[in-house]
C-alpha cells in the first residue's frame, strides 16, 4: 500500500506540474482556467494522501467547483472581443481531460486504503470543528466579517455606475 501511495503521489505531482506549466505558457485564457482547475483537483488528491479528508472535500467544493465556475463566468463576461477564441481541439484539451479522468479514477483507490473510512470521516470533521470553534474562534469570526465586507464592497463597485445614474436623474 505504501508503494501505491508513492505512485499516486508522483502521478498527482506530475499532473500538478504539467497543468501549472500549461497554464503558464498557454495563451488562451479558457484553457488556462481548465488546467488551473485540474491542478486544484490534483491538490485535493494530495490532501487525501496526507490524511486531511475534510479539507480535501472543502478543496474540491470551493476551489475545484466554486472558483472554477467564477473564473469561467468572468471569462464569459469579459472575453467578447477575444480574437483567439476558445481552442476546443484535442491537442489543447488532451492533458486536462486525461488528468481529470485519472483523478476521478484514483480517488476511490486513495479512499480504499482507509478501511475504517466512516470513523476517519467522523474524526476529521468532529475534532477539526472542535479545534476551529474552541481555539481559533476569533480568526474564524474575523474571516466571516471579512466575507461580509467583501460582499458589500463587490456589490458597491459593480452597482456604482447605476447608482450615479439614478442620482443624476
Amino acid at each position: 500500500m505504501d508503494t501505491l501511495n508513492a505512485v499516486i503521489f508522483y502521478i498527482l505531482s506530475a499532473i500538478c506540474l504539467i497543468s501549472g506549466l500549461f497554464c503558464l505558457f498557454h495563451k488562451c485564457t479558457f484553457n488556462a482556467v481548465i488546467s488551473a482547475s485540474l491542478l486544484l483537483w490534483a491538490v485535493s488528491g494530495l490532501y487525501f494522501l496526507l490524511g486531511a479528508s475534510f479539507l480535501a472535500g472543502i478543496q474540491m467544493l470551493l476551489w475545484g467547483v466554486g472558483i472554477t465556475i467564477i473564473m469561467m463566468f468572468s471569462i464569459i463576461m469579459t472575453n467578447k472581443d477575444d480574437k483567439d477564441g476558445f481552442l476546443f481541439n484535442l491537442k489543447t484539451l488532451s492533458v486536462p481531460l486525461i488528468g481529470g479522468i485519472f483523478i476521478f479514477l484514483i480517488l476511490p483507490f486513495i479512499l480504499y486504503q482507509f478501511s475504517g473510512l466512516v470513523n476517519l470521516q467522523s474524526y476529521s470533521a468532529g475534532d477539526f470543528s472542535t479545534l476551529l470553534y474552541k481555539n481559533n474562534a476569533f480568526s474564524f469570526e474575523l474571516a466571516g466579517v471579512l466575507v461580509f465586507c467583501v460582499l458589500i464592497g463587490i456589490i458597491t463597485i459593480l452597482t456604482a455606475k447605476r447608482i450615479m445614474k439614478c442620482r443624476m436623474k
Binding site: G20, C23, V43, I75, T78, F140, G153
Partner: protein, 164 residues
Amino acid sequence: MPNEIISSLNSIDWAALAVPGLCHYLILALIIFVIGIMIMVAGGNLIKIVIGLEFMLNAICINFIAANSFINSANSAINQENTIVSANSSLSQAASLGVMNFTFLNPEGQVAAFIVTVIGVINIAACFGLICAIYYKNKKVDTRILDGLKSNDCPELEECSDGV
C-alpha cells in the same frame, strides 16, 4: 574523486528516498508557488494574474497540511501533553486498529489551511468582481491599459515608455 562520488551515490538508499515524505511535499509546494509567481509576473491578462494567486495560496495550504501530517504527529513530544481528542473518539479507535499512516492529534495545520483557503476564496471572488468592473469601464482586461496612476512627469518613464 570520482570513486568517492560513485561510492557516496551507491550508499544512498534510493528506494527509501523515493517514498514521499515531508521534503517531497515541500518541494512540490515550492514549485507550485514559483509557477504561481511566474504566472502573476508574466500574465498580461488580469484573469491569469488571479490564477497565479490561486496557485500560490494552494502551495501555502499544501505546506500547512504536510507539516501538520509529518511533524505534528502523535509521537511528537508537544502533542503528548496537549491533546484535544477524547478517549472515546473515533481517532483513538482508528489509531488502535493501525488503519491510518498519520495519527495526528492536533490538526492546527489543517485549521490554518482552512482559514487560508476561506480567505483566499474571498479574495479571489473580490478580484473577479473588480475585473468585471474594470471590463465594464475599459472594455478590456489587459494590464497594459491600466495606467491611470502612471506619472507622465517622471523622466525615466518617458525614456522607457516606447509608446506603451
